[in-house]
């Protein structure tokens, strides 16, 4: 489960990427939102955008990546894969910056479907 969280902690994008074997209702969103506080604490301390694994819930890990505009990319996964996840986050960040060049982006605050396809492609490349 991958979430992109923007200003005021509002989720901008959500995708199931097959990183968690059992998907129990909305548990994953709950886990991610609970981890947001930790991300907000750790982000100013780190000089990197990639914060690695910030939280653990039972046997699930939460990894985070914070951009300059304070957009948080959060991923719930059950296997450790630091390099793969880091590359995935970097690619998604690049796609976000590209999506921002669309003048309509601000108004609708929704990522276009092409973005969704790119995220799934990056996930295939780096996460499995």
């Amino acid at each position: 489960m991958f979430l992109i969280i923007g200003k005021n902690d509002v989720p901008m994008y959500e995708a199931s990427l097959g990183t968690v074997k059992k998907d129990i209702g909305h548990l994953n969103q709950f886990i991610i939102h609970a981890a947001l506080d930790i991300v907000d604490e750790e982000a100013p301390l780190s000089s990197n955008m990639y914060l690695k694994t910030v939280d653990k819930f039972n046997d699930l890990y939460v990894s985070a990546y914070v951009t300059a505009a304070n957009i948080r990319l959060m991923l719930v996964h059950d296997t450790k894969n630091e390099d793969g996840i880091k590359n995935f986050f970097i690619e998604v960040h690049e796609n976000i910056v590209k999506a921002m060049t669309n003048p309509l982006f601000d108004v609708f605050r929704n990522f276009p479907t092409a973005f969704d396809a790119k995220v799934k492609q990056s996930a295939k490349k780096f996460l499995i």
């Binding site: 300059a68 505009a69 960040h93 690049e94 976000i96 921002m100 003048p103 601000d106």
Partner: protein
């Protein structure tokens, strides 16, 4: 993403000039100079605000492209230095001239080689007042870019600009503390 094409800043300069012309010349029968003379104070203020908003939109997005390779900095002084170097390098291909700071969050940036108004300055057919009107419109755009850049980094700011003798410009930036 890593392919960066260096565009000489004359391109932005000319494009901004065209945008200003388009915005100011509402009557196709009047020349730019006459339209400038006819602008009321309110109209000028409205147009400056519009240019600023254009700049803010641009600044927010540009900062996303630049900061990818660097890390955001929380400390104001290093943030200002980053802006003076990286943002100016990205837009104009050079560093800004000078940065002054008073420790209360007010910074003054001097750019000694701001060539945007050189052509206009040398023209004999424009008087000081209208020259300043035109400059204020173009500078509003640059202020907007700065404001958008700070906004993209999560900082509130207020920016003013003034053009001075010999191609130099002064930007006064007030950052909200914290």
């Amino acid at each position: 993403m890593s392919t960066q094409i260096a565009i000489p800043d004359i391109t932005y300069n000319l494009l901004i000039n065209e945008i200003i012309k388009y915005s100011v010349c509402t009557d196709p029968n009047l020349s730019l100079l006459e339209s400038l003379k006819n602008l009321t104070k309110e109209e000028l203020q409205d147009k400056r605000q519009a240019m600023k908003e254009m700049g803010i939109s641009v600044g927010e997005r540009i900062i996303g492209f630049i900061v990818k390779e660097h890390v955001w900095t929380k400390e104001h002084n290093s943030l200002m230095r980053f802006i003076c170097k990286e943002l100016w390098m990205y837009l104009f291909g050079r560093y800004i001239g000078r940065l002054q700071a008073n420790n209360k969050g007010v910074y003054i940036m001097y750019d000694y080689k701001f060539h945007w108004f050189q052509g206009l300055d040398l023209s004999e057919s424009i008087d000081r007042e209208n020259f300043e009107k035109f400059c204020s419109l173009a500078l509003s755009w640059v202020c907007g870019v700065l404001k958008g850049a700070f906004k993209g980094l999560g900082k509130e700011s207020s920016i003013e600009a003034a053009v001075e003798e010999n191609n130099s410009c002064r930007f006064t930036i007030t950052l909200k503390l914290g």
